[in-house]
């Protein structure tokens, strides 16, 4: 499709950034870039749900936490004492367990990252399916509150369960070997590789989502957003399409949670907090709701600044202000301001281009 030409420039920028950091000796920036890329993975999924299917979710940090926590718990929990348990034996038979030694030299038996990853994604799929059927029947405030409620429940659960480490979260999560040579880990020697892994995953997701939007399914979603009863009259099973979009975005969120948890070596309850969900919504809004590349760009920039600590103790306040300002002055996203100025259709744009043309003509004359 025509819109896919963006991929090449983005890829070039990604490589240039890496080369630049290597050249200037600021390779440490790649750590936050990697983390931002994973957060952006969640954000582009949420963007399809909010911008294209028109369904708000204030609970996507919940799916991120489901992915991260389940993967973290499974890959750190020592099962040695439960070897005889039928479930553990089944996992062993399926080759999902790996043995090793913990720091004290005691035997350690945990679930392999790949198995944990698949189980975590399965959990996110199941939860989004069960939650989505009733929740997506709701609209407006009701949908917002219901998803917010889901987010708070997940937050309370991870905060209150001993299994998920309560307020401390889970640490000591091992690295995740995606493929030979592709090792998701925070270890400094793997930093450049991980930067490319994160971008690789993100760009593959972007490609799939772009395809989705430019297809029969994407048209149906936009139709639901544009005029739900007309979409219904065209034979679009609106409930099913909303549900499937919800599940796709939940899986991307869970995947982001899984990969980032293995990269960071741990996860804490703040990842499940409502403020995180609100932040993701803010970023999608700044990017322009129905604008995948806008969401990706804003996801990278704002998360990077936040992770570098640029907002100091005003971190949450900054996102609150962003939400208000964008929704008041540019509900179509920050890019709409710039595009508005440059677009030949807008008044200012016409004046601008008219000015350029005149100048050109004067030069030629």
């Amino acid at each position: 499709m025509r819109k896919n030409f963006v991929f090449l420039p983005v890829l070039i920028i990604v490589v240039l950034i890496q080369l630049l950091t290597a050249w200037t000796g600021t390779i440490f920036y790649l750590t936050q870039m990697t983390m931002s890329a994973y957060y952006s993975l969640l954000i582009v999924g949420l963007c399809v749900l909010m911008g294209y299917a028109g369904q708000i979710s204030l609970g996507h940090a919940g799916f991120f936490a489901i992915g991260g926590y389940i993967s973290a718990a499974l890959t750190t929990r020592n099962l040695t004492a439960h070897v005889e348990h039928p479930v553990v034996r089944l996992l062993d038979l399926l080759g999902c367990l790996q043995a090793g030694q913990d720091i004290y030299g005691d035997p350690l038996l945990v679930v392999t990252p790949w198995a944990a990853c698949l189980l975590a994604i399965g959990a996110a799929l199941a939860v989004s399916f069960v939650l989505g059927i009733p929740v997506l029947k709701l609209k407006g405030h009701y949908l917002a509150m219901a998803t917010l409620g889901f987010g708070i429940i997940v937050y309370r659960l991870v905060l209150a369960s001993e299994y998920f480490g309560e307020a401390d979260g889970i640490s000591g999560v091992p690295g995740f070997s995606l493929l030979p040579g592709l090792f998701v880990s925070g270890d400094i020697s793997w930093r450049v590789t991980n930067y490319y892994i994160a971008w690789g995953v993100l760009l593959i997701a972007m490609l799939l989502l772009r395809h989705l939007i430019d297809s029969r399914v994407g048209r149906a979603l936009r139709a639901i957003h544009g005029a739900q009863d007309a979409a219904d009259a065209m034979g679009v099973d609106t409930a099913r399409f909303k549900l499937q979009t919800f599940m796709v975005s939940a899986v991307l969120s869970a995947l982001a949670g899984i990969l980032l948890t293995h990269y960071n070596g741990g996860i804490g309850p703040s990842e499940a907090s409502v403020m995180k969900s609100v932040r993701y919504v803010a970023i999608v809004a700044v990017g322009g709701m129905a604008h995948l590349w806008g969401a990706l760009a804003m996801g990278m920039i704002l998360n990077f600044l936040s992770l570098r600590g640029c907002f100091g103790s005003y971190d949450d306040a900054v996102f609150g202000v962003i939400l208000i300002v964008i929704m008041l002055f540019a509900p179509n996203g920050i890019l709409s301001l710039r595009l508005g100025l440059l677009s030949p259709l807008s008044l200012k744009g016409r004046q601008f281009f008219g000015f350029l043309r005149k100048k050109q003509a004067a030069k030629e004359a």
Binding site: R216, A230, A231, A233, M234
Partner: protein, 251 residues
């Protein structure tokens, strides 16, 4: 052959009997109009057939199959397409994309096929595009294909809506006041278009206020008043019916 059979259909909203025991049938390949003064229950009747409302009494049979109370998207899937009185364009989509949505039930690519853009998905996409262009051409606005639908003139939006409904390849087409808001030239144009659609073999049921259009193109007319059917016949007879005249002109 009877395509649609409405039998003793009733719809009650609290204390208001909006549609009261209405029965009529629709033969394949004909144009039937439903007329009546404001508040006669025309739009309610329409929404009952299209599945936007569930009836409180009676039966609707399409090709012999009871369809009352089915969800609208299922009814569309059976081959019943509709347009809306106050046009409902899909905002943010071009005229062509609007029509392409109409191909939804005639295509099948799902989430995974779309994401991974399988070869079947690609060829289906081409077919959808070609068919939709053809339909925009049929309604006479092929040159507006890439314009945002909401930026089109009112009459053009009507045409897009018609093309969108036709994209379903419907057996039955429901038109809710197709001439509302159009001037006399545009109304005549839409009349010619509806006749052309009938000639394609598509059965048409329309609700309309514009009598000249109704008398011009309908094969048969059903007259409603206060939710009840008071007459059903060919246009020339309806024009002479004293009860119909009374309803329209008062005592």
């Amino acid at each position: 052959m009877t395509l649609l059979q409405v039998d003793q259909l009733g719809k009650r909203f609290g204390g208001l009997q909006a549609v009261d025991g209405v029965s009529f049938s629709l033969r394949q390949g004909t144009i039937k109009a439903v007329i009546g003064p404001n508040g006669a229950g025309k739009t309610t009747l329409f929404n009952l057939i299209a599945g936007m409302l569930a009836p409180t009494a009676g039966e609707i049979r399409f090709q012999g199959k009871a369809i009352q109370g089915m969800r609208p998207f299922r009814i569309a899937g059976l081959g019943i397409a509709r347009t809306f009185q106050n046009i409902k364009m899909f905002a943010g989509m071009t005229a062509l994309e609007n029509v392409m949505v109409g191909r939804h039930v005639r295509s099948k690519a799902g989430f995974l096929a779309s994401m991974f853009r399988t070869s079947g998905c690609r060829s289906e996409e081409r077919a959808i595009r070609d068919k939709s262009m053809e339909l925009l051409d049929f309604v006479g606005i092929a040159d507006c294909a890439e314009t945002l639908a909401t930026n089109l003139a009112f009459g053009q939006q009507r045409a897009v809506e018609l093309a969108r409904a036709l994209a379903l390849e419907p057996t039955l087409l429901l038109l809710d006041e197709p001439a509302a808001g159009l001037n006399i030239y545009e109304t005549a144009e839409i009349g010619r278009l509806i006749a052309k659609i009938r000639d394609l073999g598509i059965t048409v049921l329309l609700v309309e206020h514009d009598m000249s259009l109704v008398m011009d193109i309908s094969d048969e007319i059903v007259v409603l008043s206060f939710g009840q059917k008071i007459a059903e016949d060919v246009p020339t007879v309806i024009q002479q019916n004293p009860e119909v005249i009374k309803v329209y002109l008062g005592e």
